[in-house]
């Protein structure tokens, strides 16, 4: 019986060691999986941000390149949120901010937002450079994406000469 008791006492310590190791490993596992999740969401946030920025910038730039001139009276330059109204022949294209999204309208009819409600347009500034021969529009767009574990704010710059100003 004594022998057996001794053996039992030994295995109890073993059990304690085993439990300690088990707790260590499982808590490390939980932490790892939690950070995996955080990373995934952060990745998603960043990807959403760049994707939205790309769509917004490329759409505005394509419209600027297509344009002949800017309607200075209808536009709001050098301030945020800015408004840009472009004229291309008889077509007017207007970019503006509406409830946190960059929206565009053609000939006064709202076409729709260029950014989704997953992100917020924090700031958009349009600048106009009037040169000796050509006219240029610069745009600074600050987007903010937020989720429970990650947030990201980035500013993108782009510019384009209105190709209609070349003779």
């Amino acid at each position: 019986m004594r022998m057996k008791r001794q053996q039992r006492g030994f295995t109890l310590i073993e059990m304690l060691v085993y439990i300690a190791v088990f707790v260590l490993i499982s808590s490390a596992l939980v932490v790892t999986f939690l950070s995996f999740n955080t990373t995934f969401v952060r990745n998603q946030t960043e990807r959403a941000l760049t994707q939205e920025a790309r769509v917004a910038l490329d759409t505005v730039i394509a419209a600027v390149k297509h344009a002949d001139t800017v309607d200075g009276a209808q536009s709001l330059l050098n301030v945020s949120p800015g408004i840009l109204e472009l004229e291309s022949g008889a077509t007017t294209t207007r970019f503006y901010i509406s409830s946190g999204a960059l929206v565009y309208a053609i000939n006064g009819t709202e076409i729709g937002p260029l950014t989704s409600n997953a992100i917020v347009v924090e700031s958009v500034v349009f600048q106009r450079y009037v040169g000796t021969t050509t006219d240029m529009i610069r745009m600074a767009l600050t987007l903010h994406a937020e989720s429970k574990v990650a947030s990201s704010t980035r500013t993108f710059y782009t510019s384009a000469i209105m190709r209609g100003t070349y003779e």
Binding site: K4, Q7, R8, F10, T11, E14, V17, Y18, V21, L24, I25, A28, L29, T32, S35, F36, T39, R42, N43, E46, R47, L49, T50, A53, R54, L57, N78, Q127, R128, Y129, V130, G131, T132, T133, T134, M136, R138, S152, R154, T155, F156, Y157, T158, S159, A160, I161, Y166
Partner: protein
């Protein structure tokens, strides 16, 4: 007795558990390294996108500067690093480094040689060629981050009214 001999066998497995734990530990360290790489990759993607737009912006600004007066580009010294200085109403070439947020933008202008008979652009040092004073090769470079990263975009600019 059987029960206790089983327990005794279990005692041996404690070493196995330690071995198992160290293997699991190594795996976890590798996993956390992979995670940190993922995090870096996601913000690196966004930063690179920002940098590419800044470089394209730089090329377009140089086109605008060219449109104003070819001399603005043509008179720049080849091989010298220059910077852009955009304001609310215009832009000019400057010798002062430009930084936009955490990004630094610079550009270099290079001469272009053309073949005397075909007018094709040829590498520098090619025989029977001469420098075209109405064409320049520009490289816009965006540098950022720690460790340092950079991207470059190139373009040819030509005098519109030679």
């Amino acid at each position: 007795m059987n029960k206790f001999s089983n327990l005794k066998k279990r005692g041996v497995t404690a070493v196995e558990v330690l071995v198992g734990a160290s293997i699991a530990g190594v795996i976890l360290v590798m996993a956390s390294y992979a995670i940190s790489q993922f995090i870096n990759a996601s913000s690196a993607l966004s930063e690179k996108t920002q940098a590419v737009y800044l470089a394209e912006d730089g090329i377009e600004l140089l086109r605008y500067i060219r449109d104003n007066d070819w001399a603005n580009i043509g008179n720049l010294t080849a091989g010298t690093t220059y910077y852009l200085a955009p304001t609310a109403t215009g832009v000019h070439v400057s010798g002062t480094p430009e930084s936009i947020g955490s990004f630094n933008r610079s550009f270099v202008v290079e001469q272009v040689r053309r073949d005397n008979s075909s007018d094709d652009i040829v590498p520098s040092g090619a025989g029977g060629s001469s420098v075209d004073t109405d064409t320049r090769f520009i490289t816009v470079t965006i540098a950022w981050g720690n460790p340092a990263q950079s991207i470059s975009l190139t373009s040819l600019l030509a005098n519109q009214n030679p």
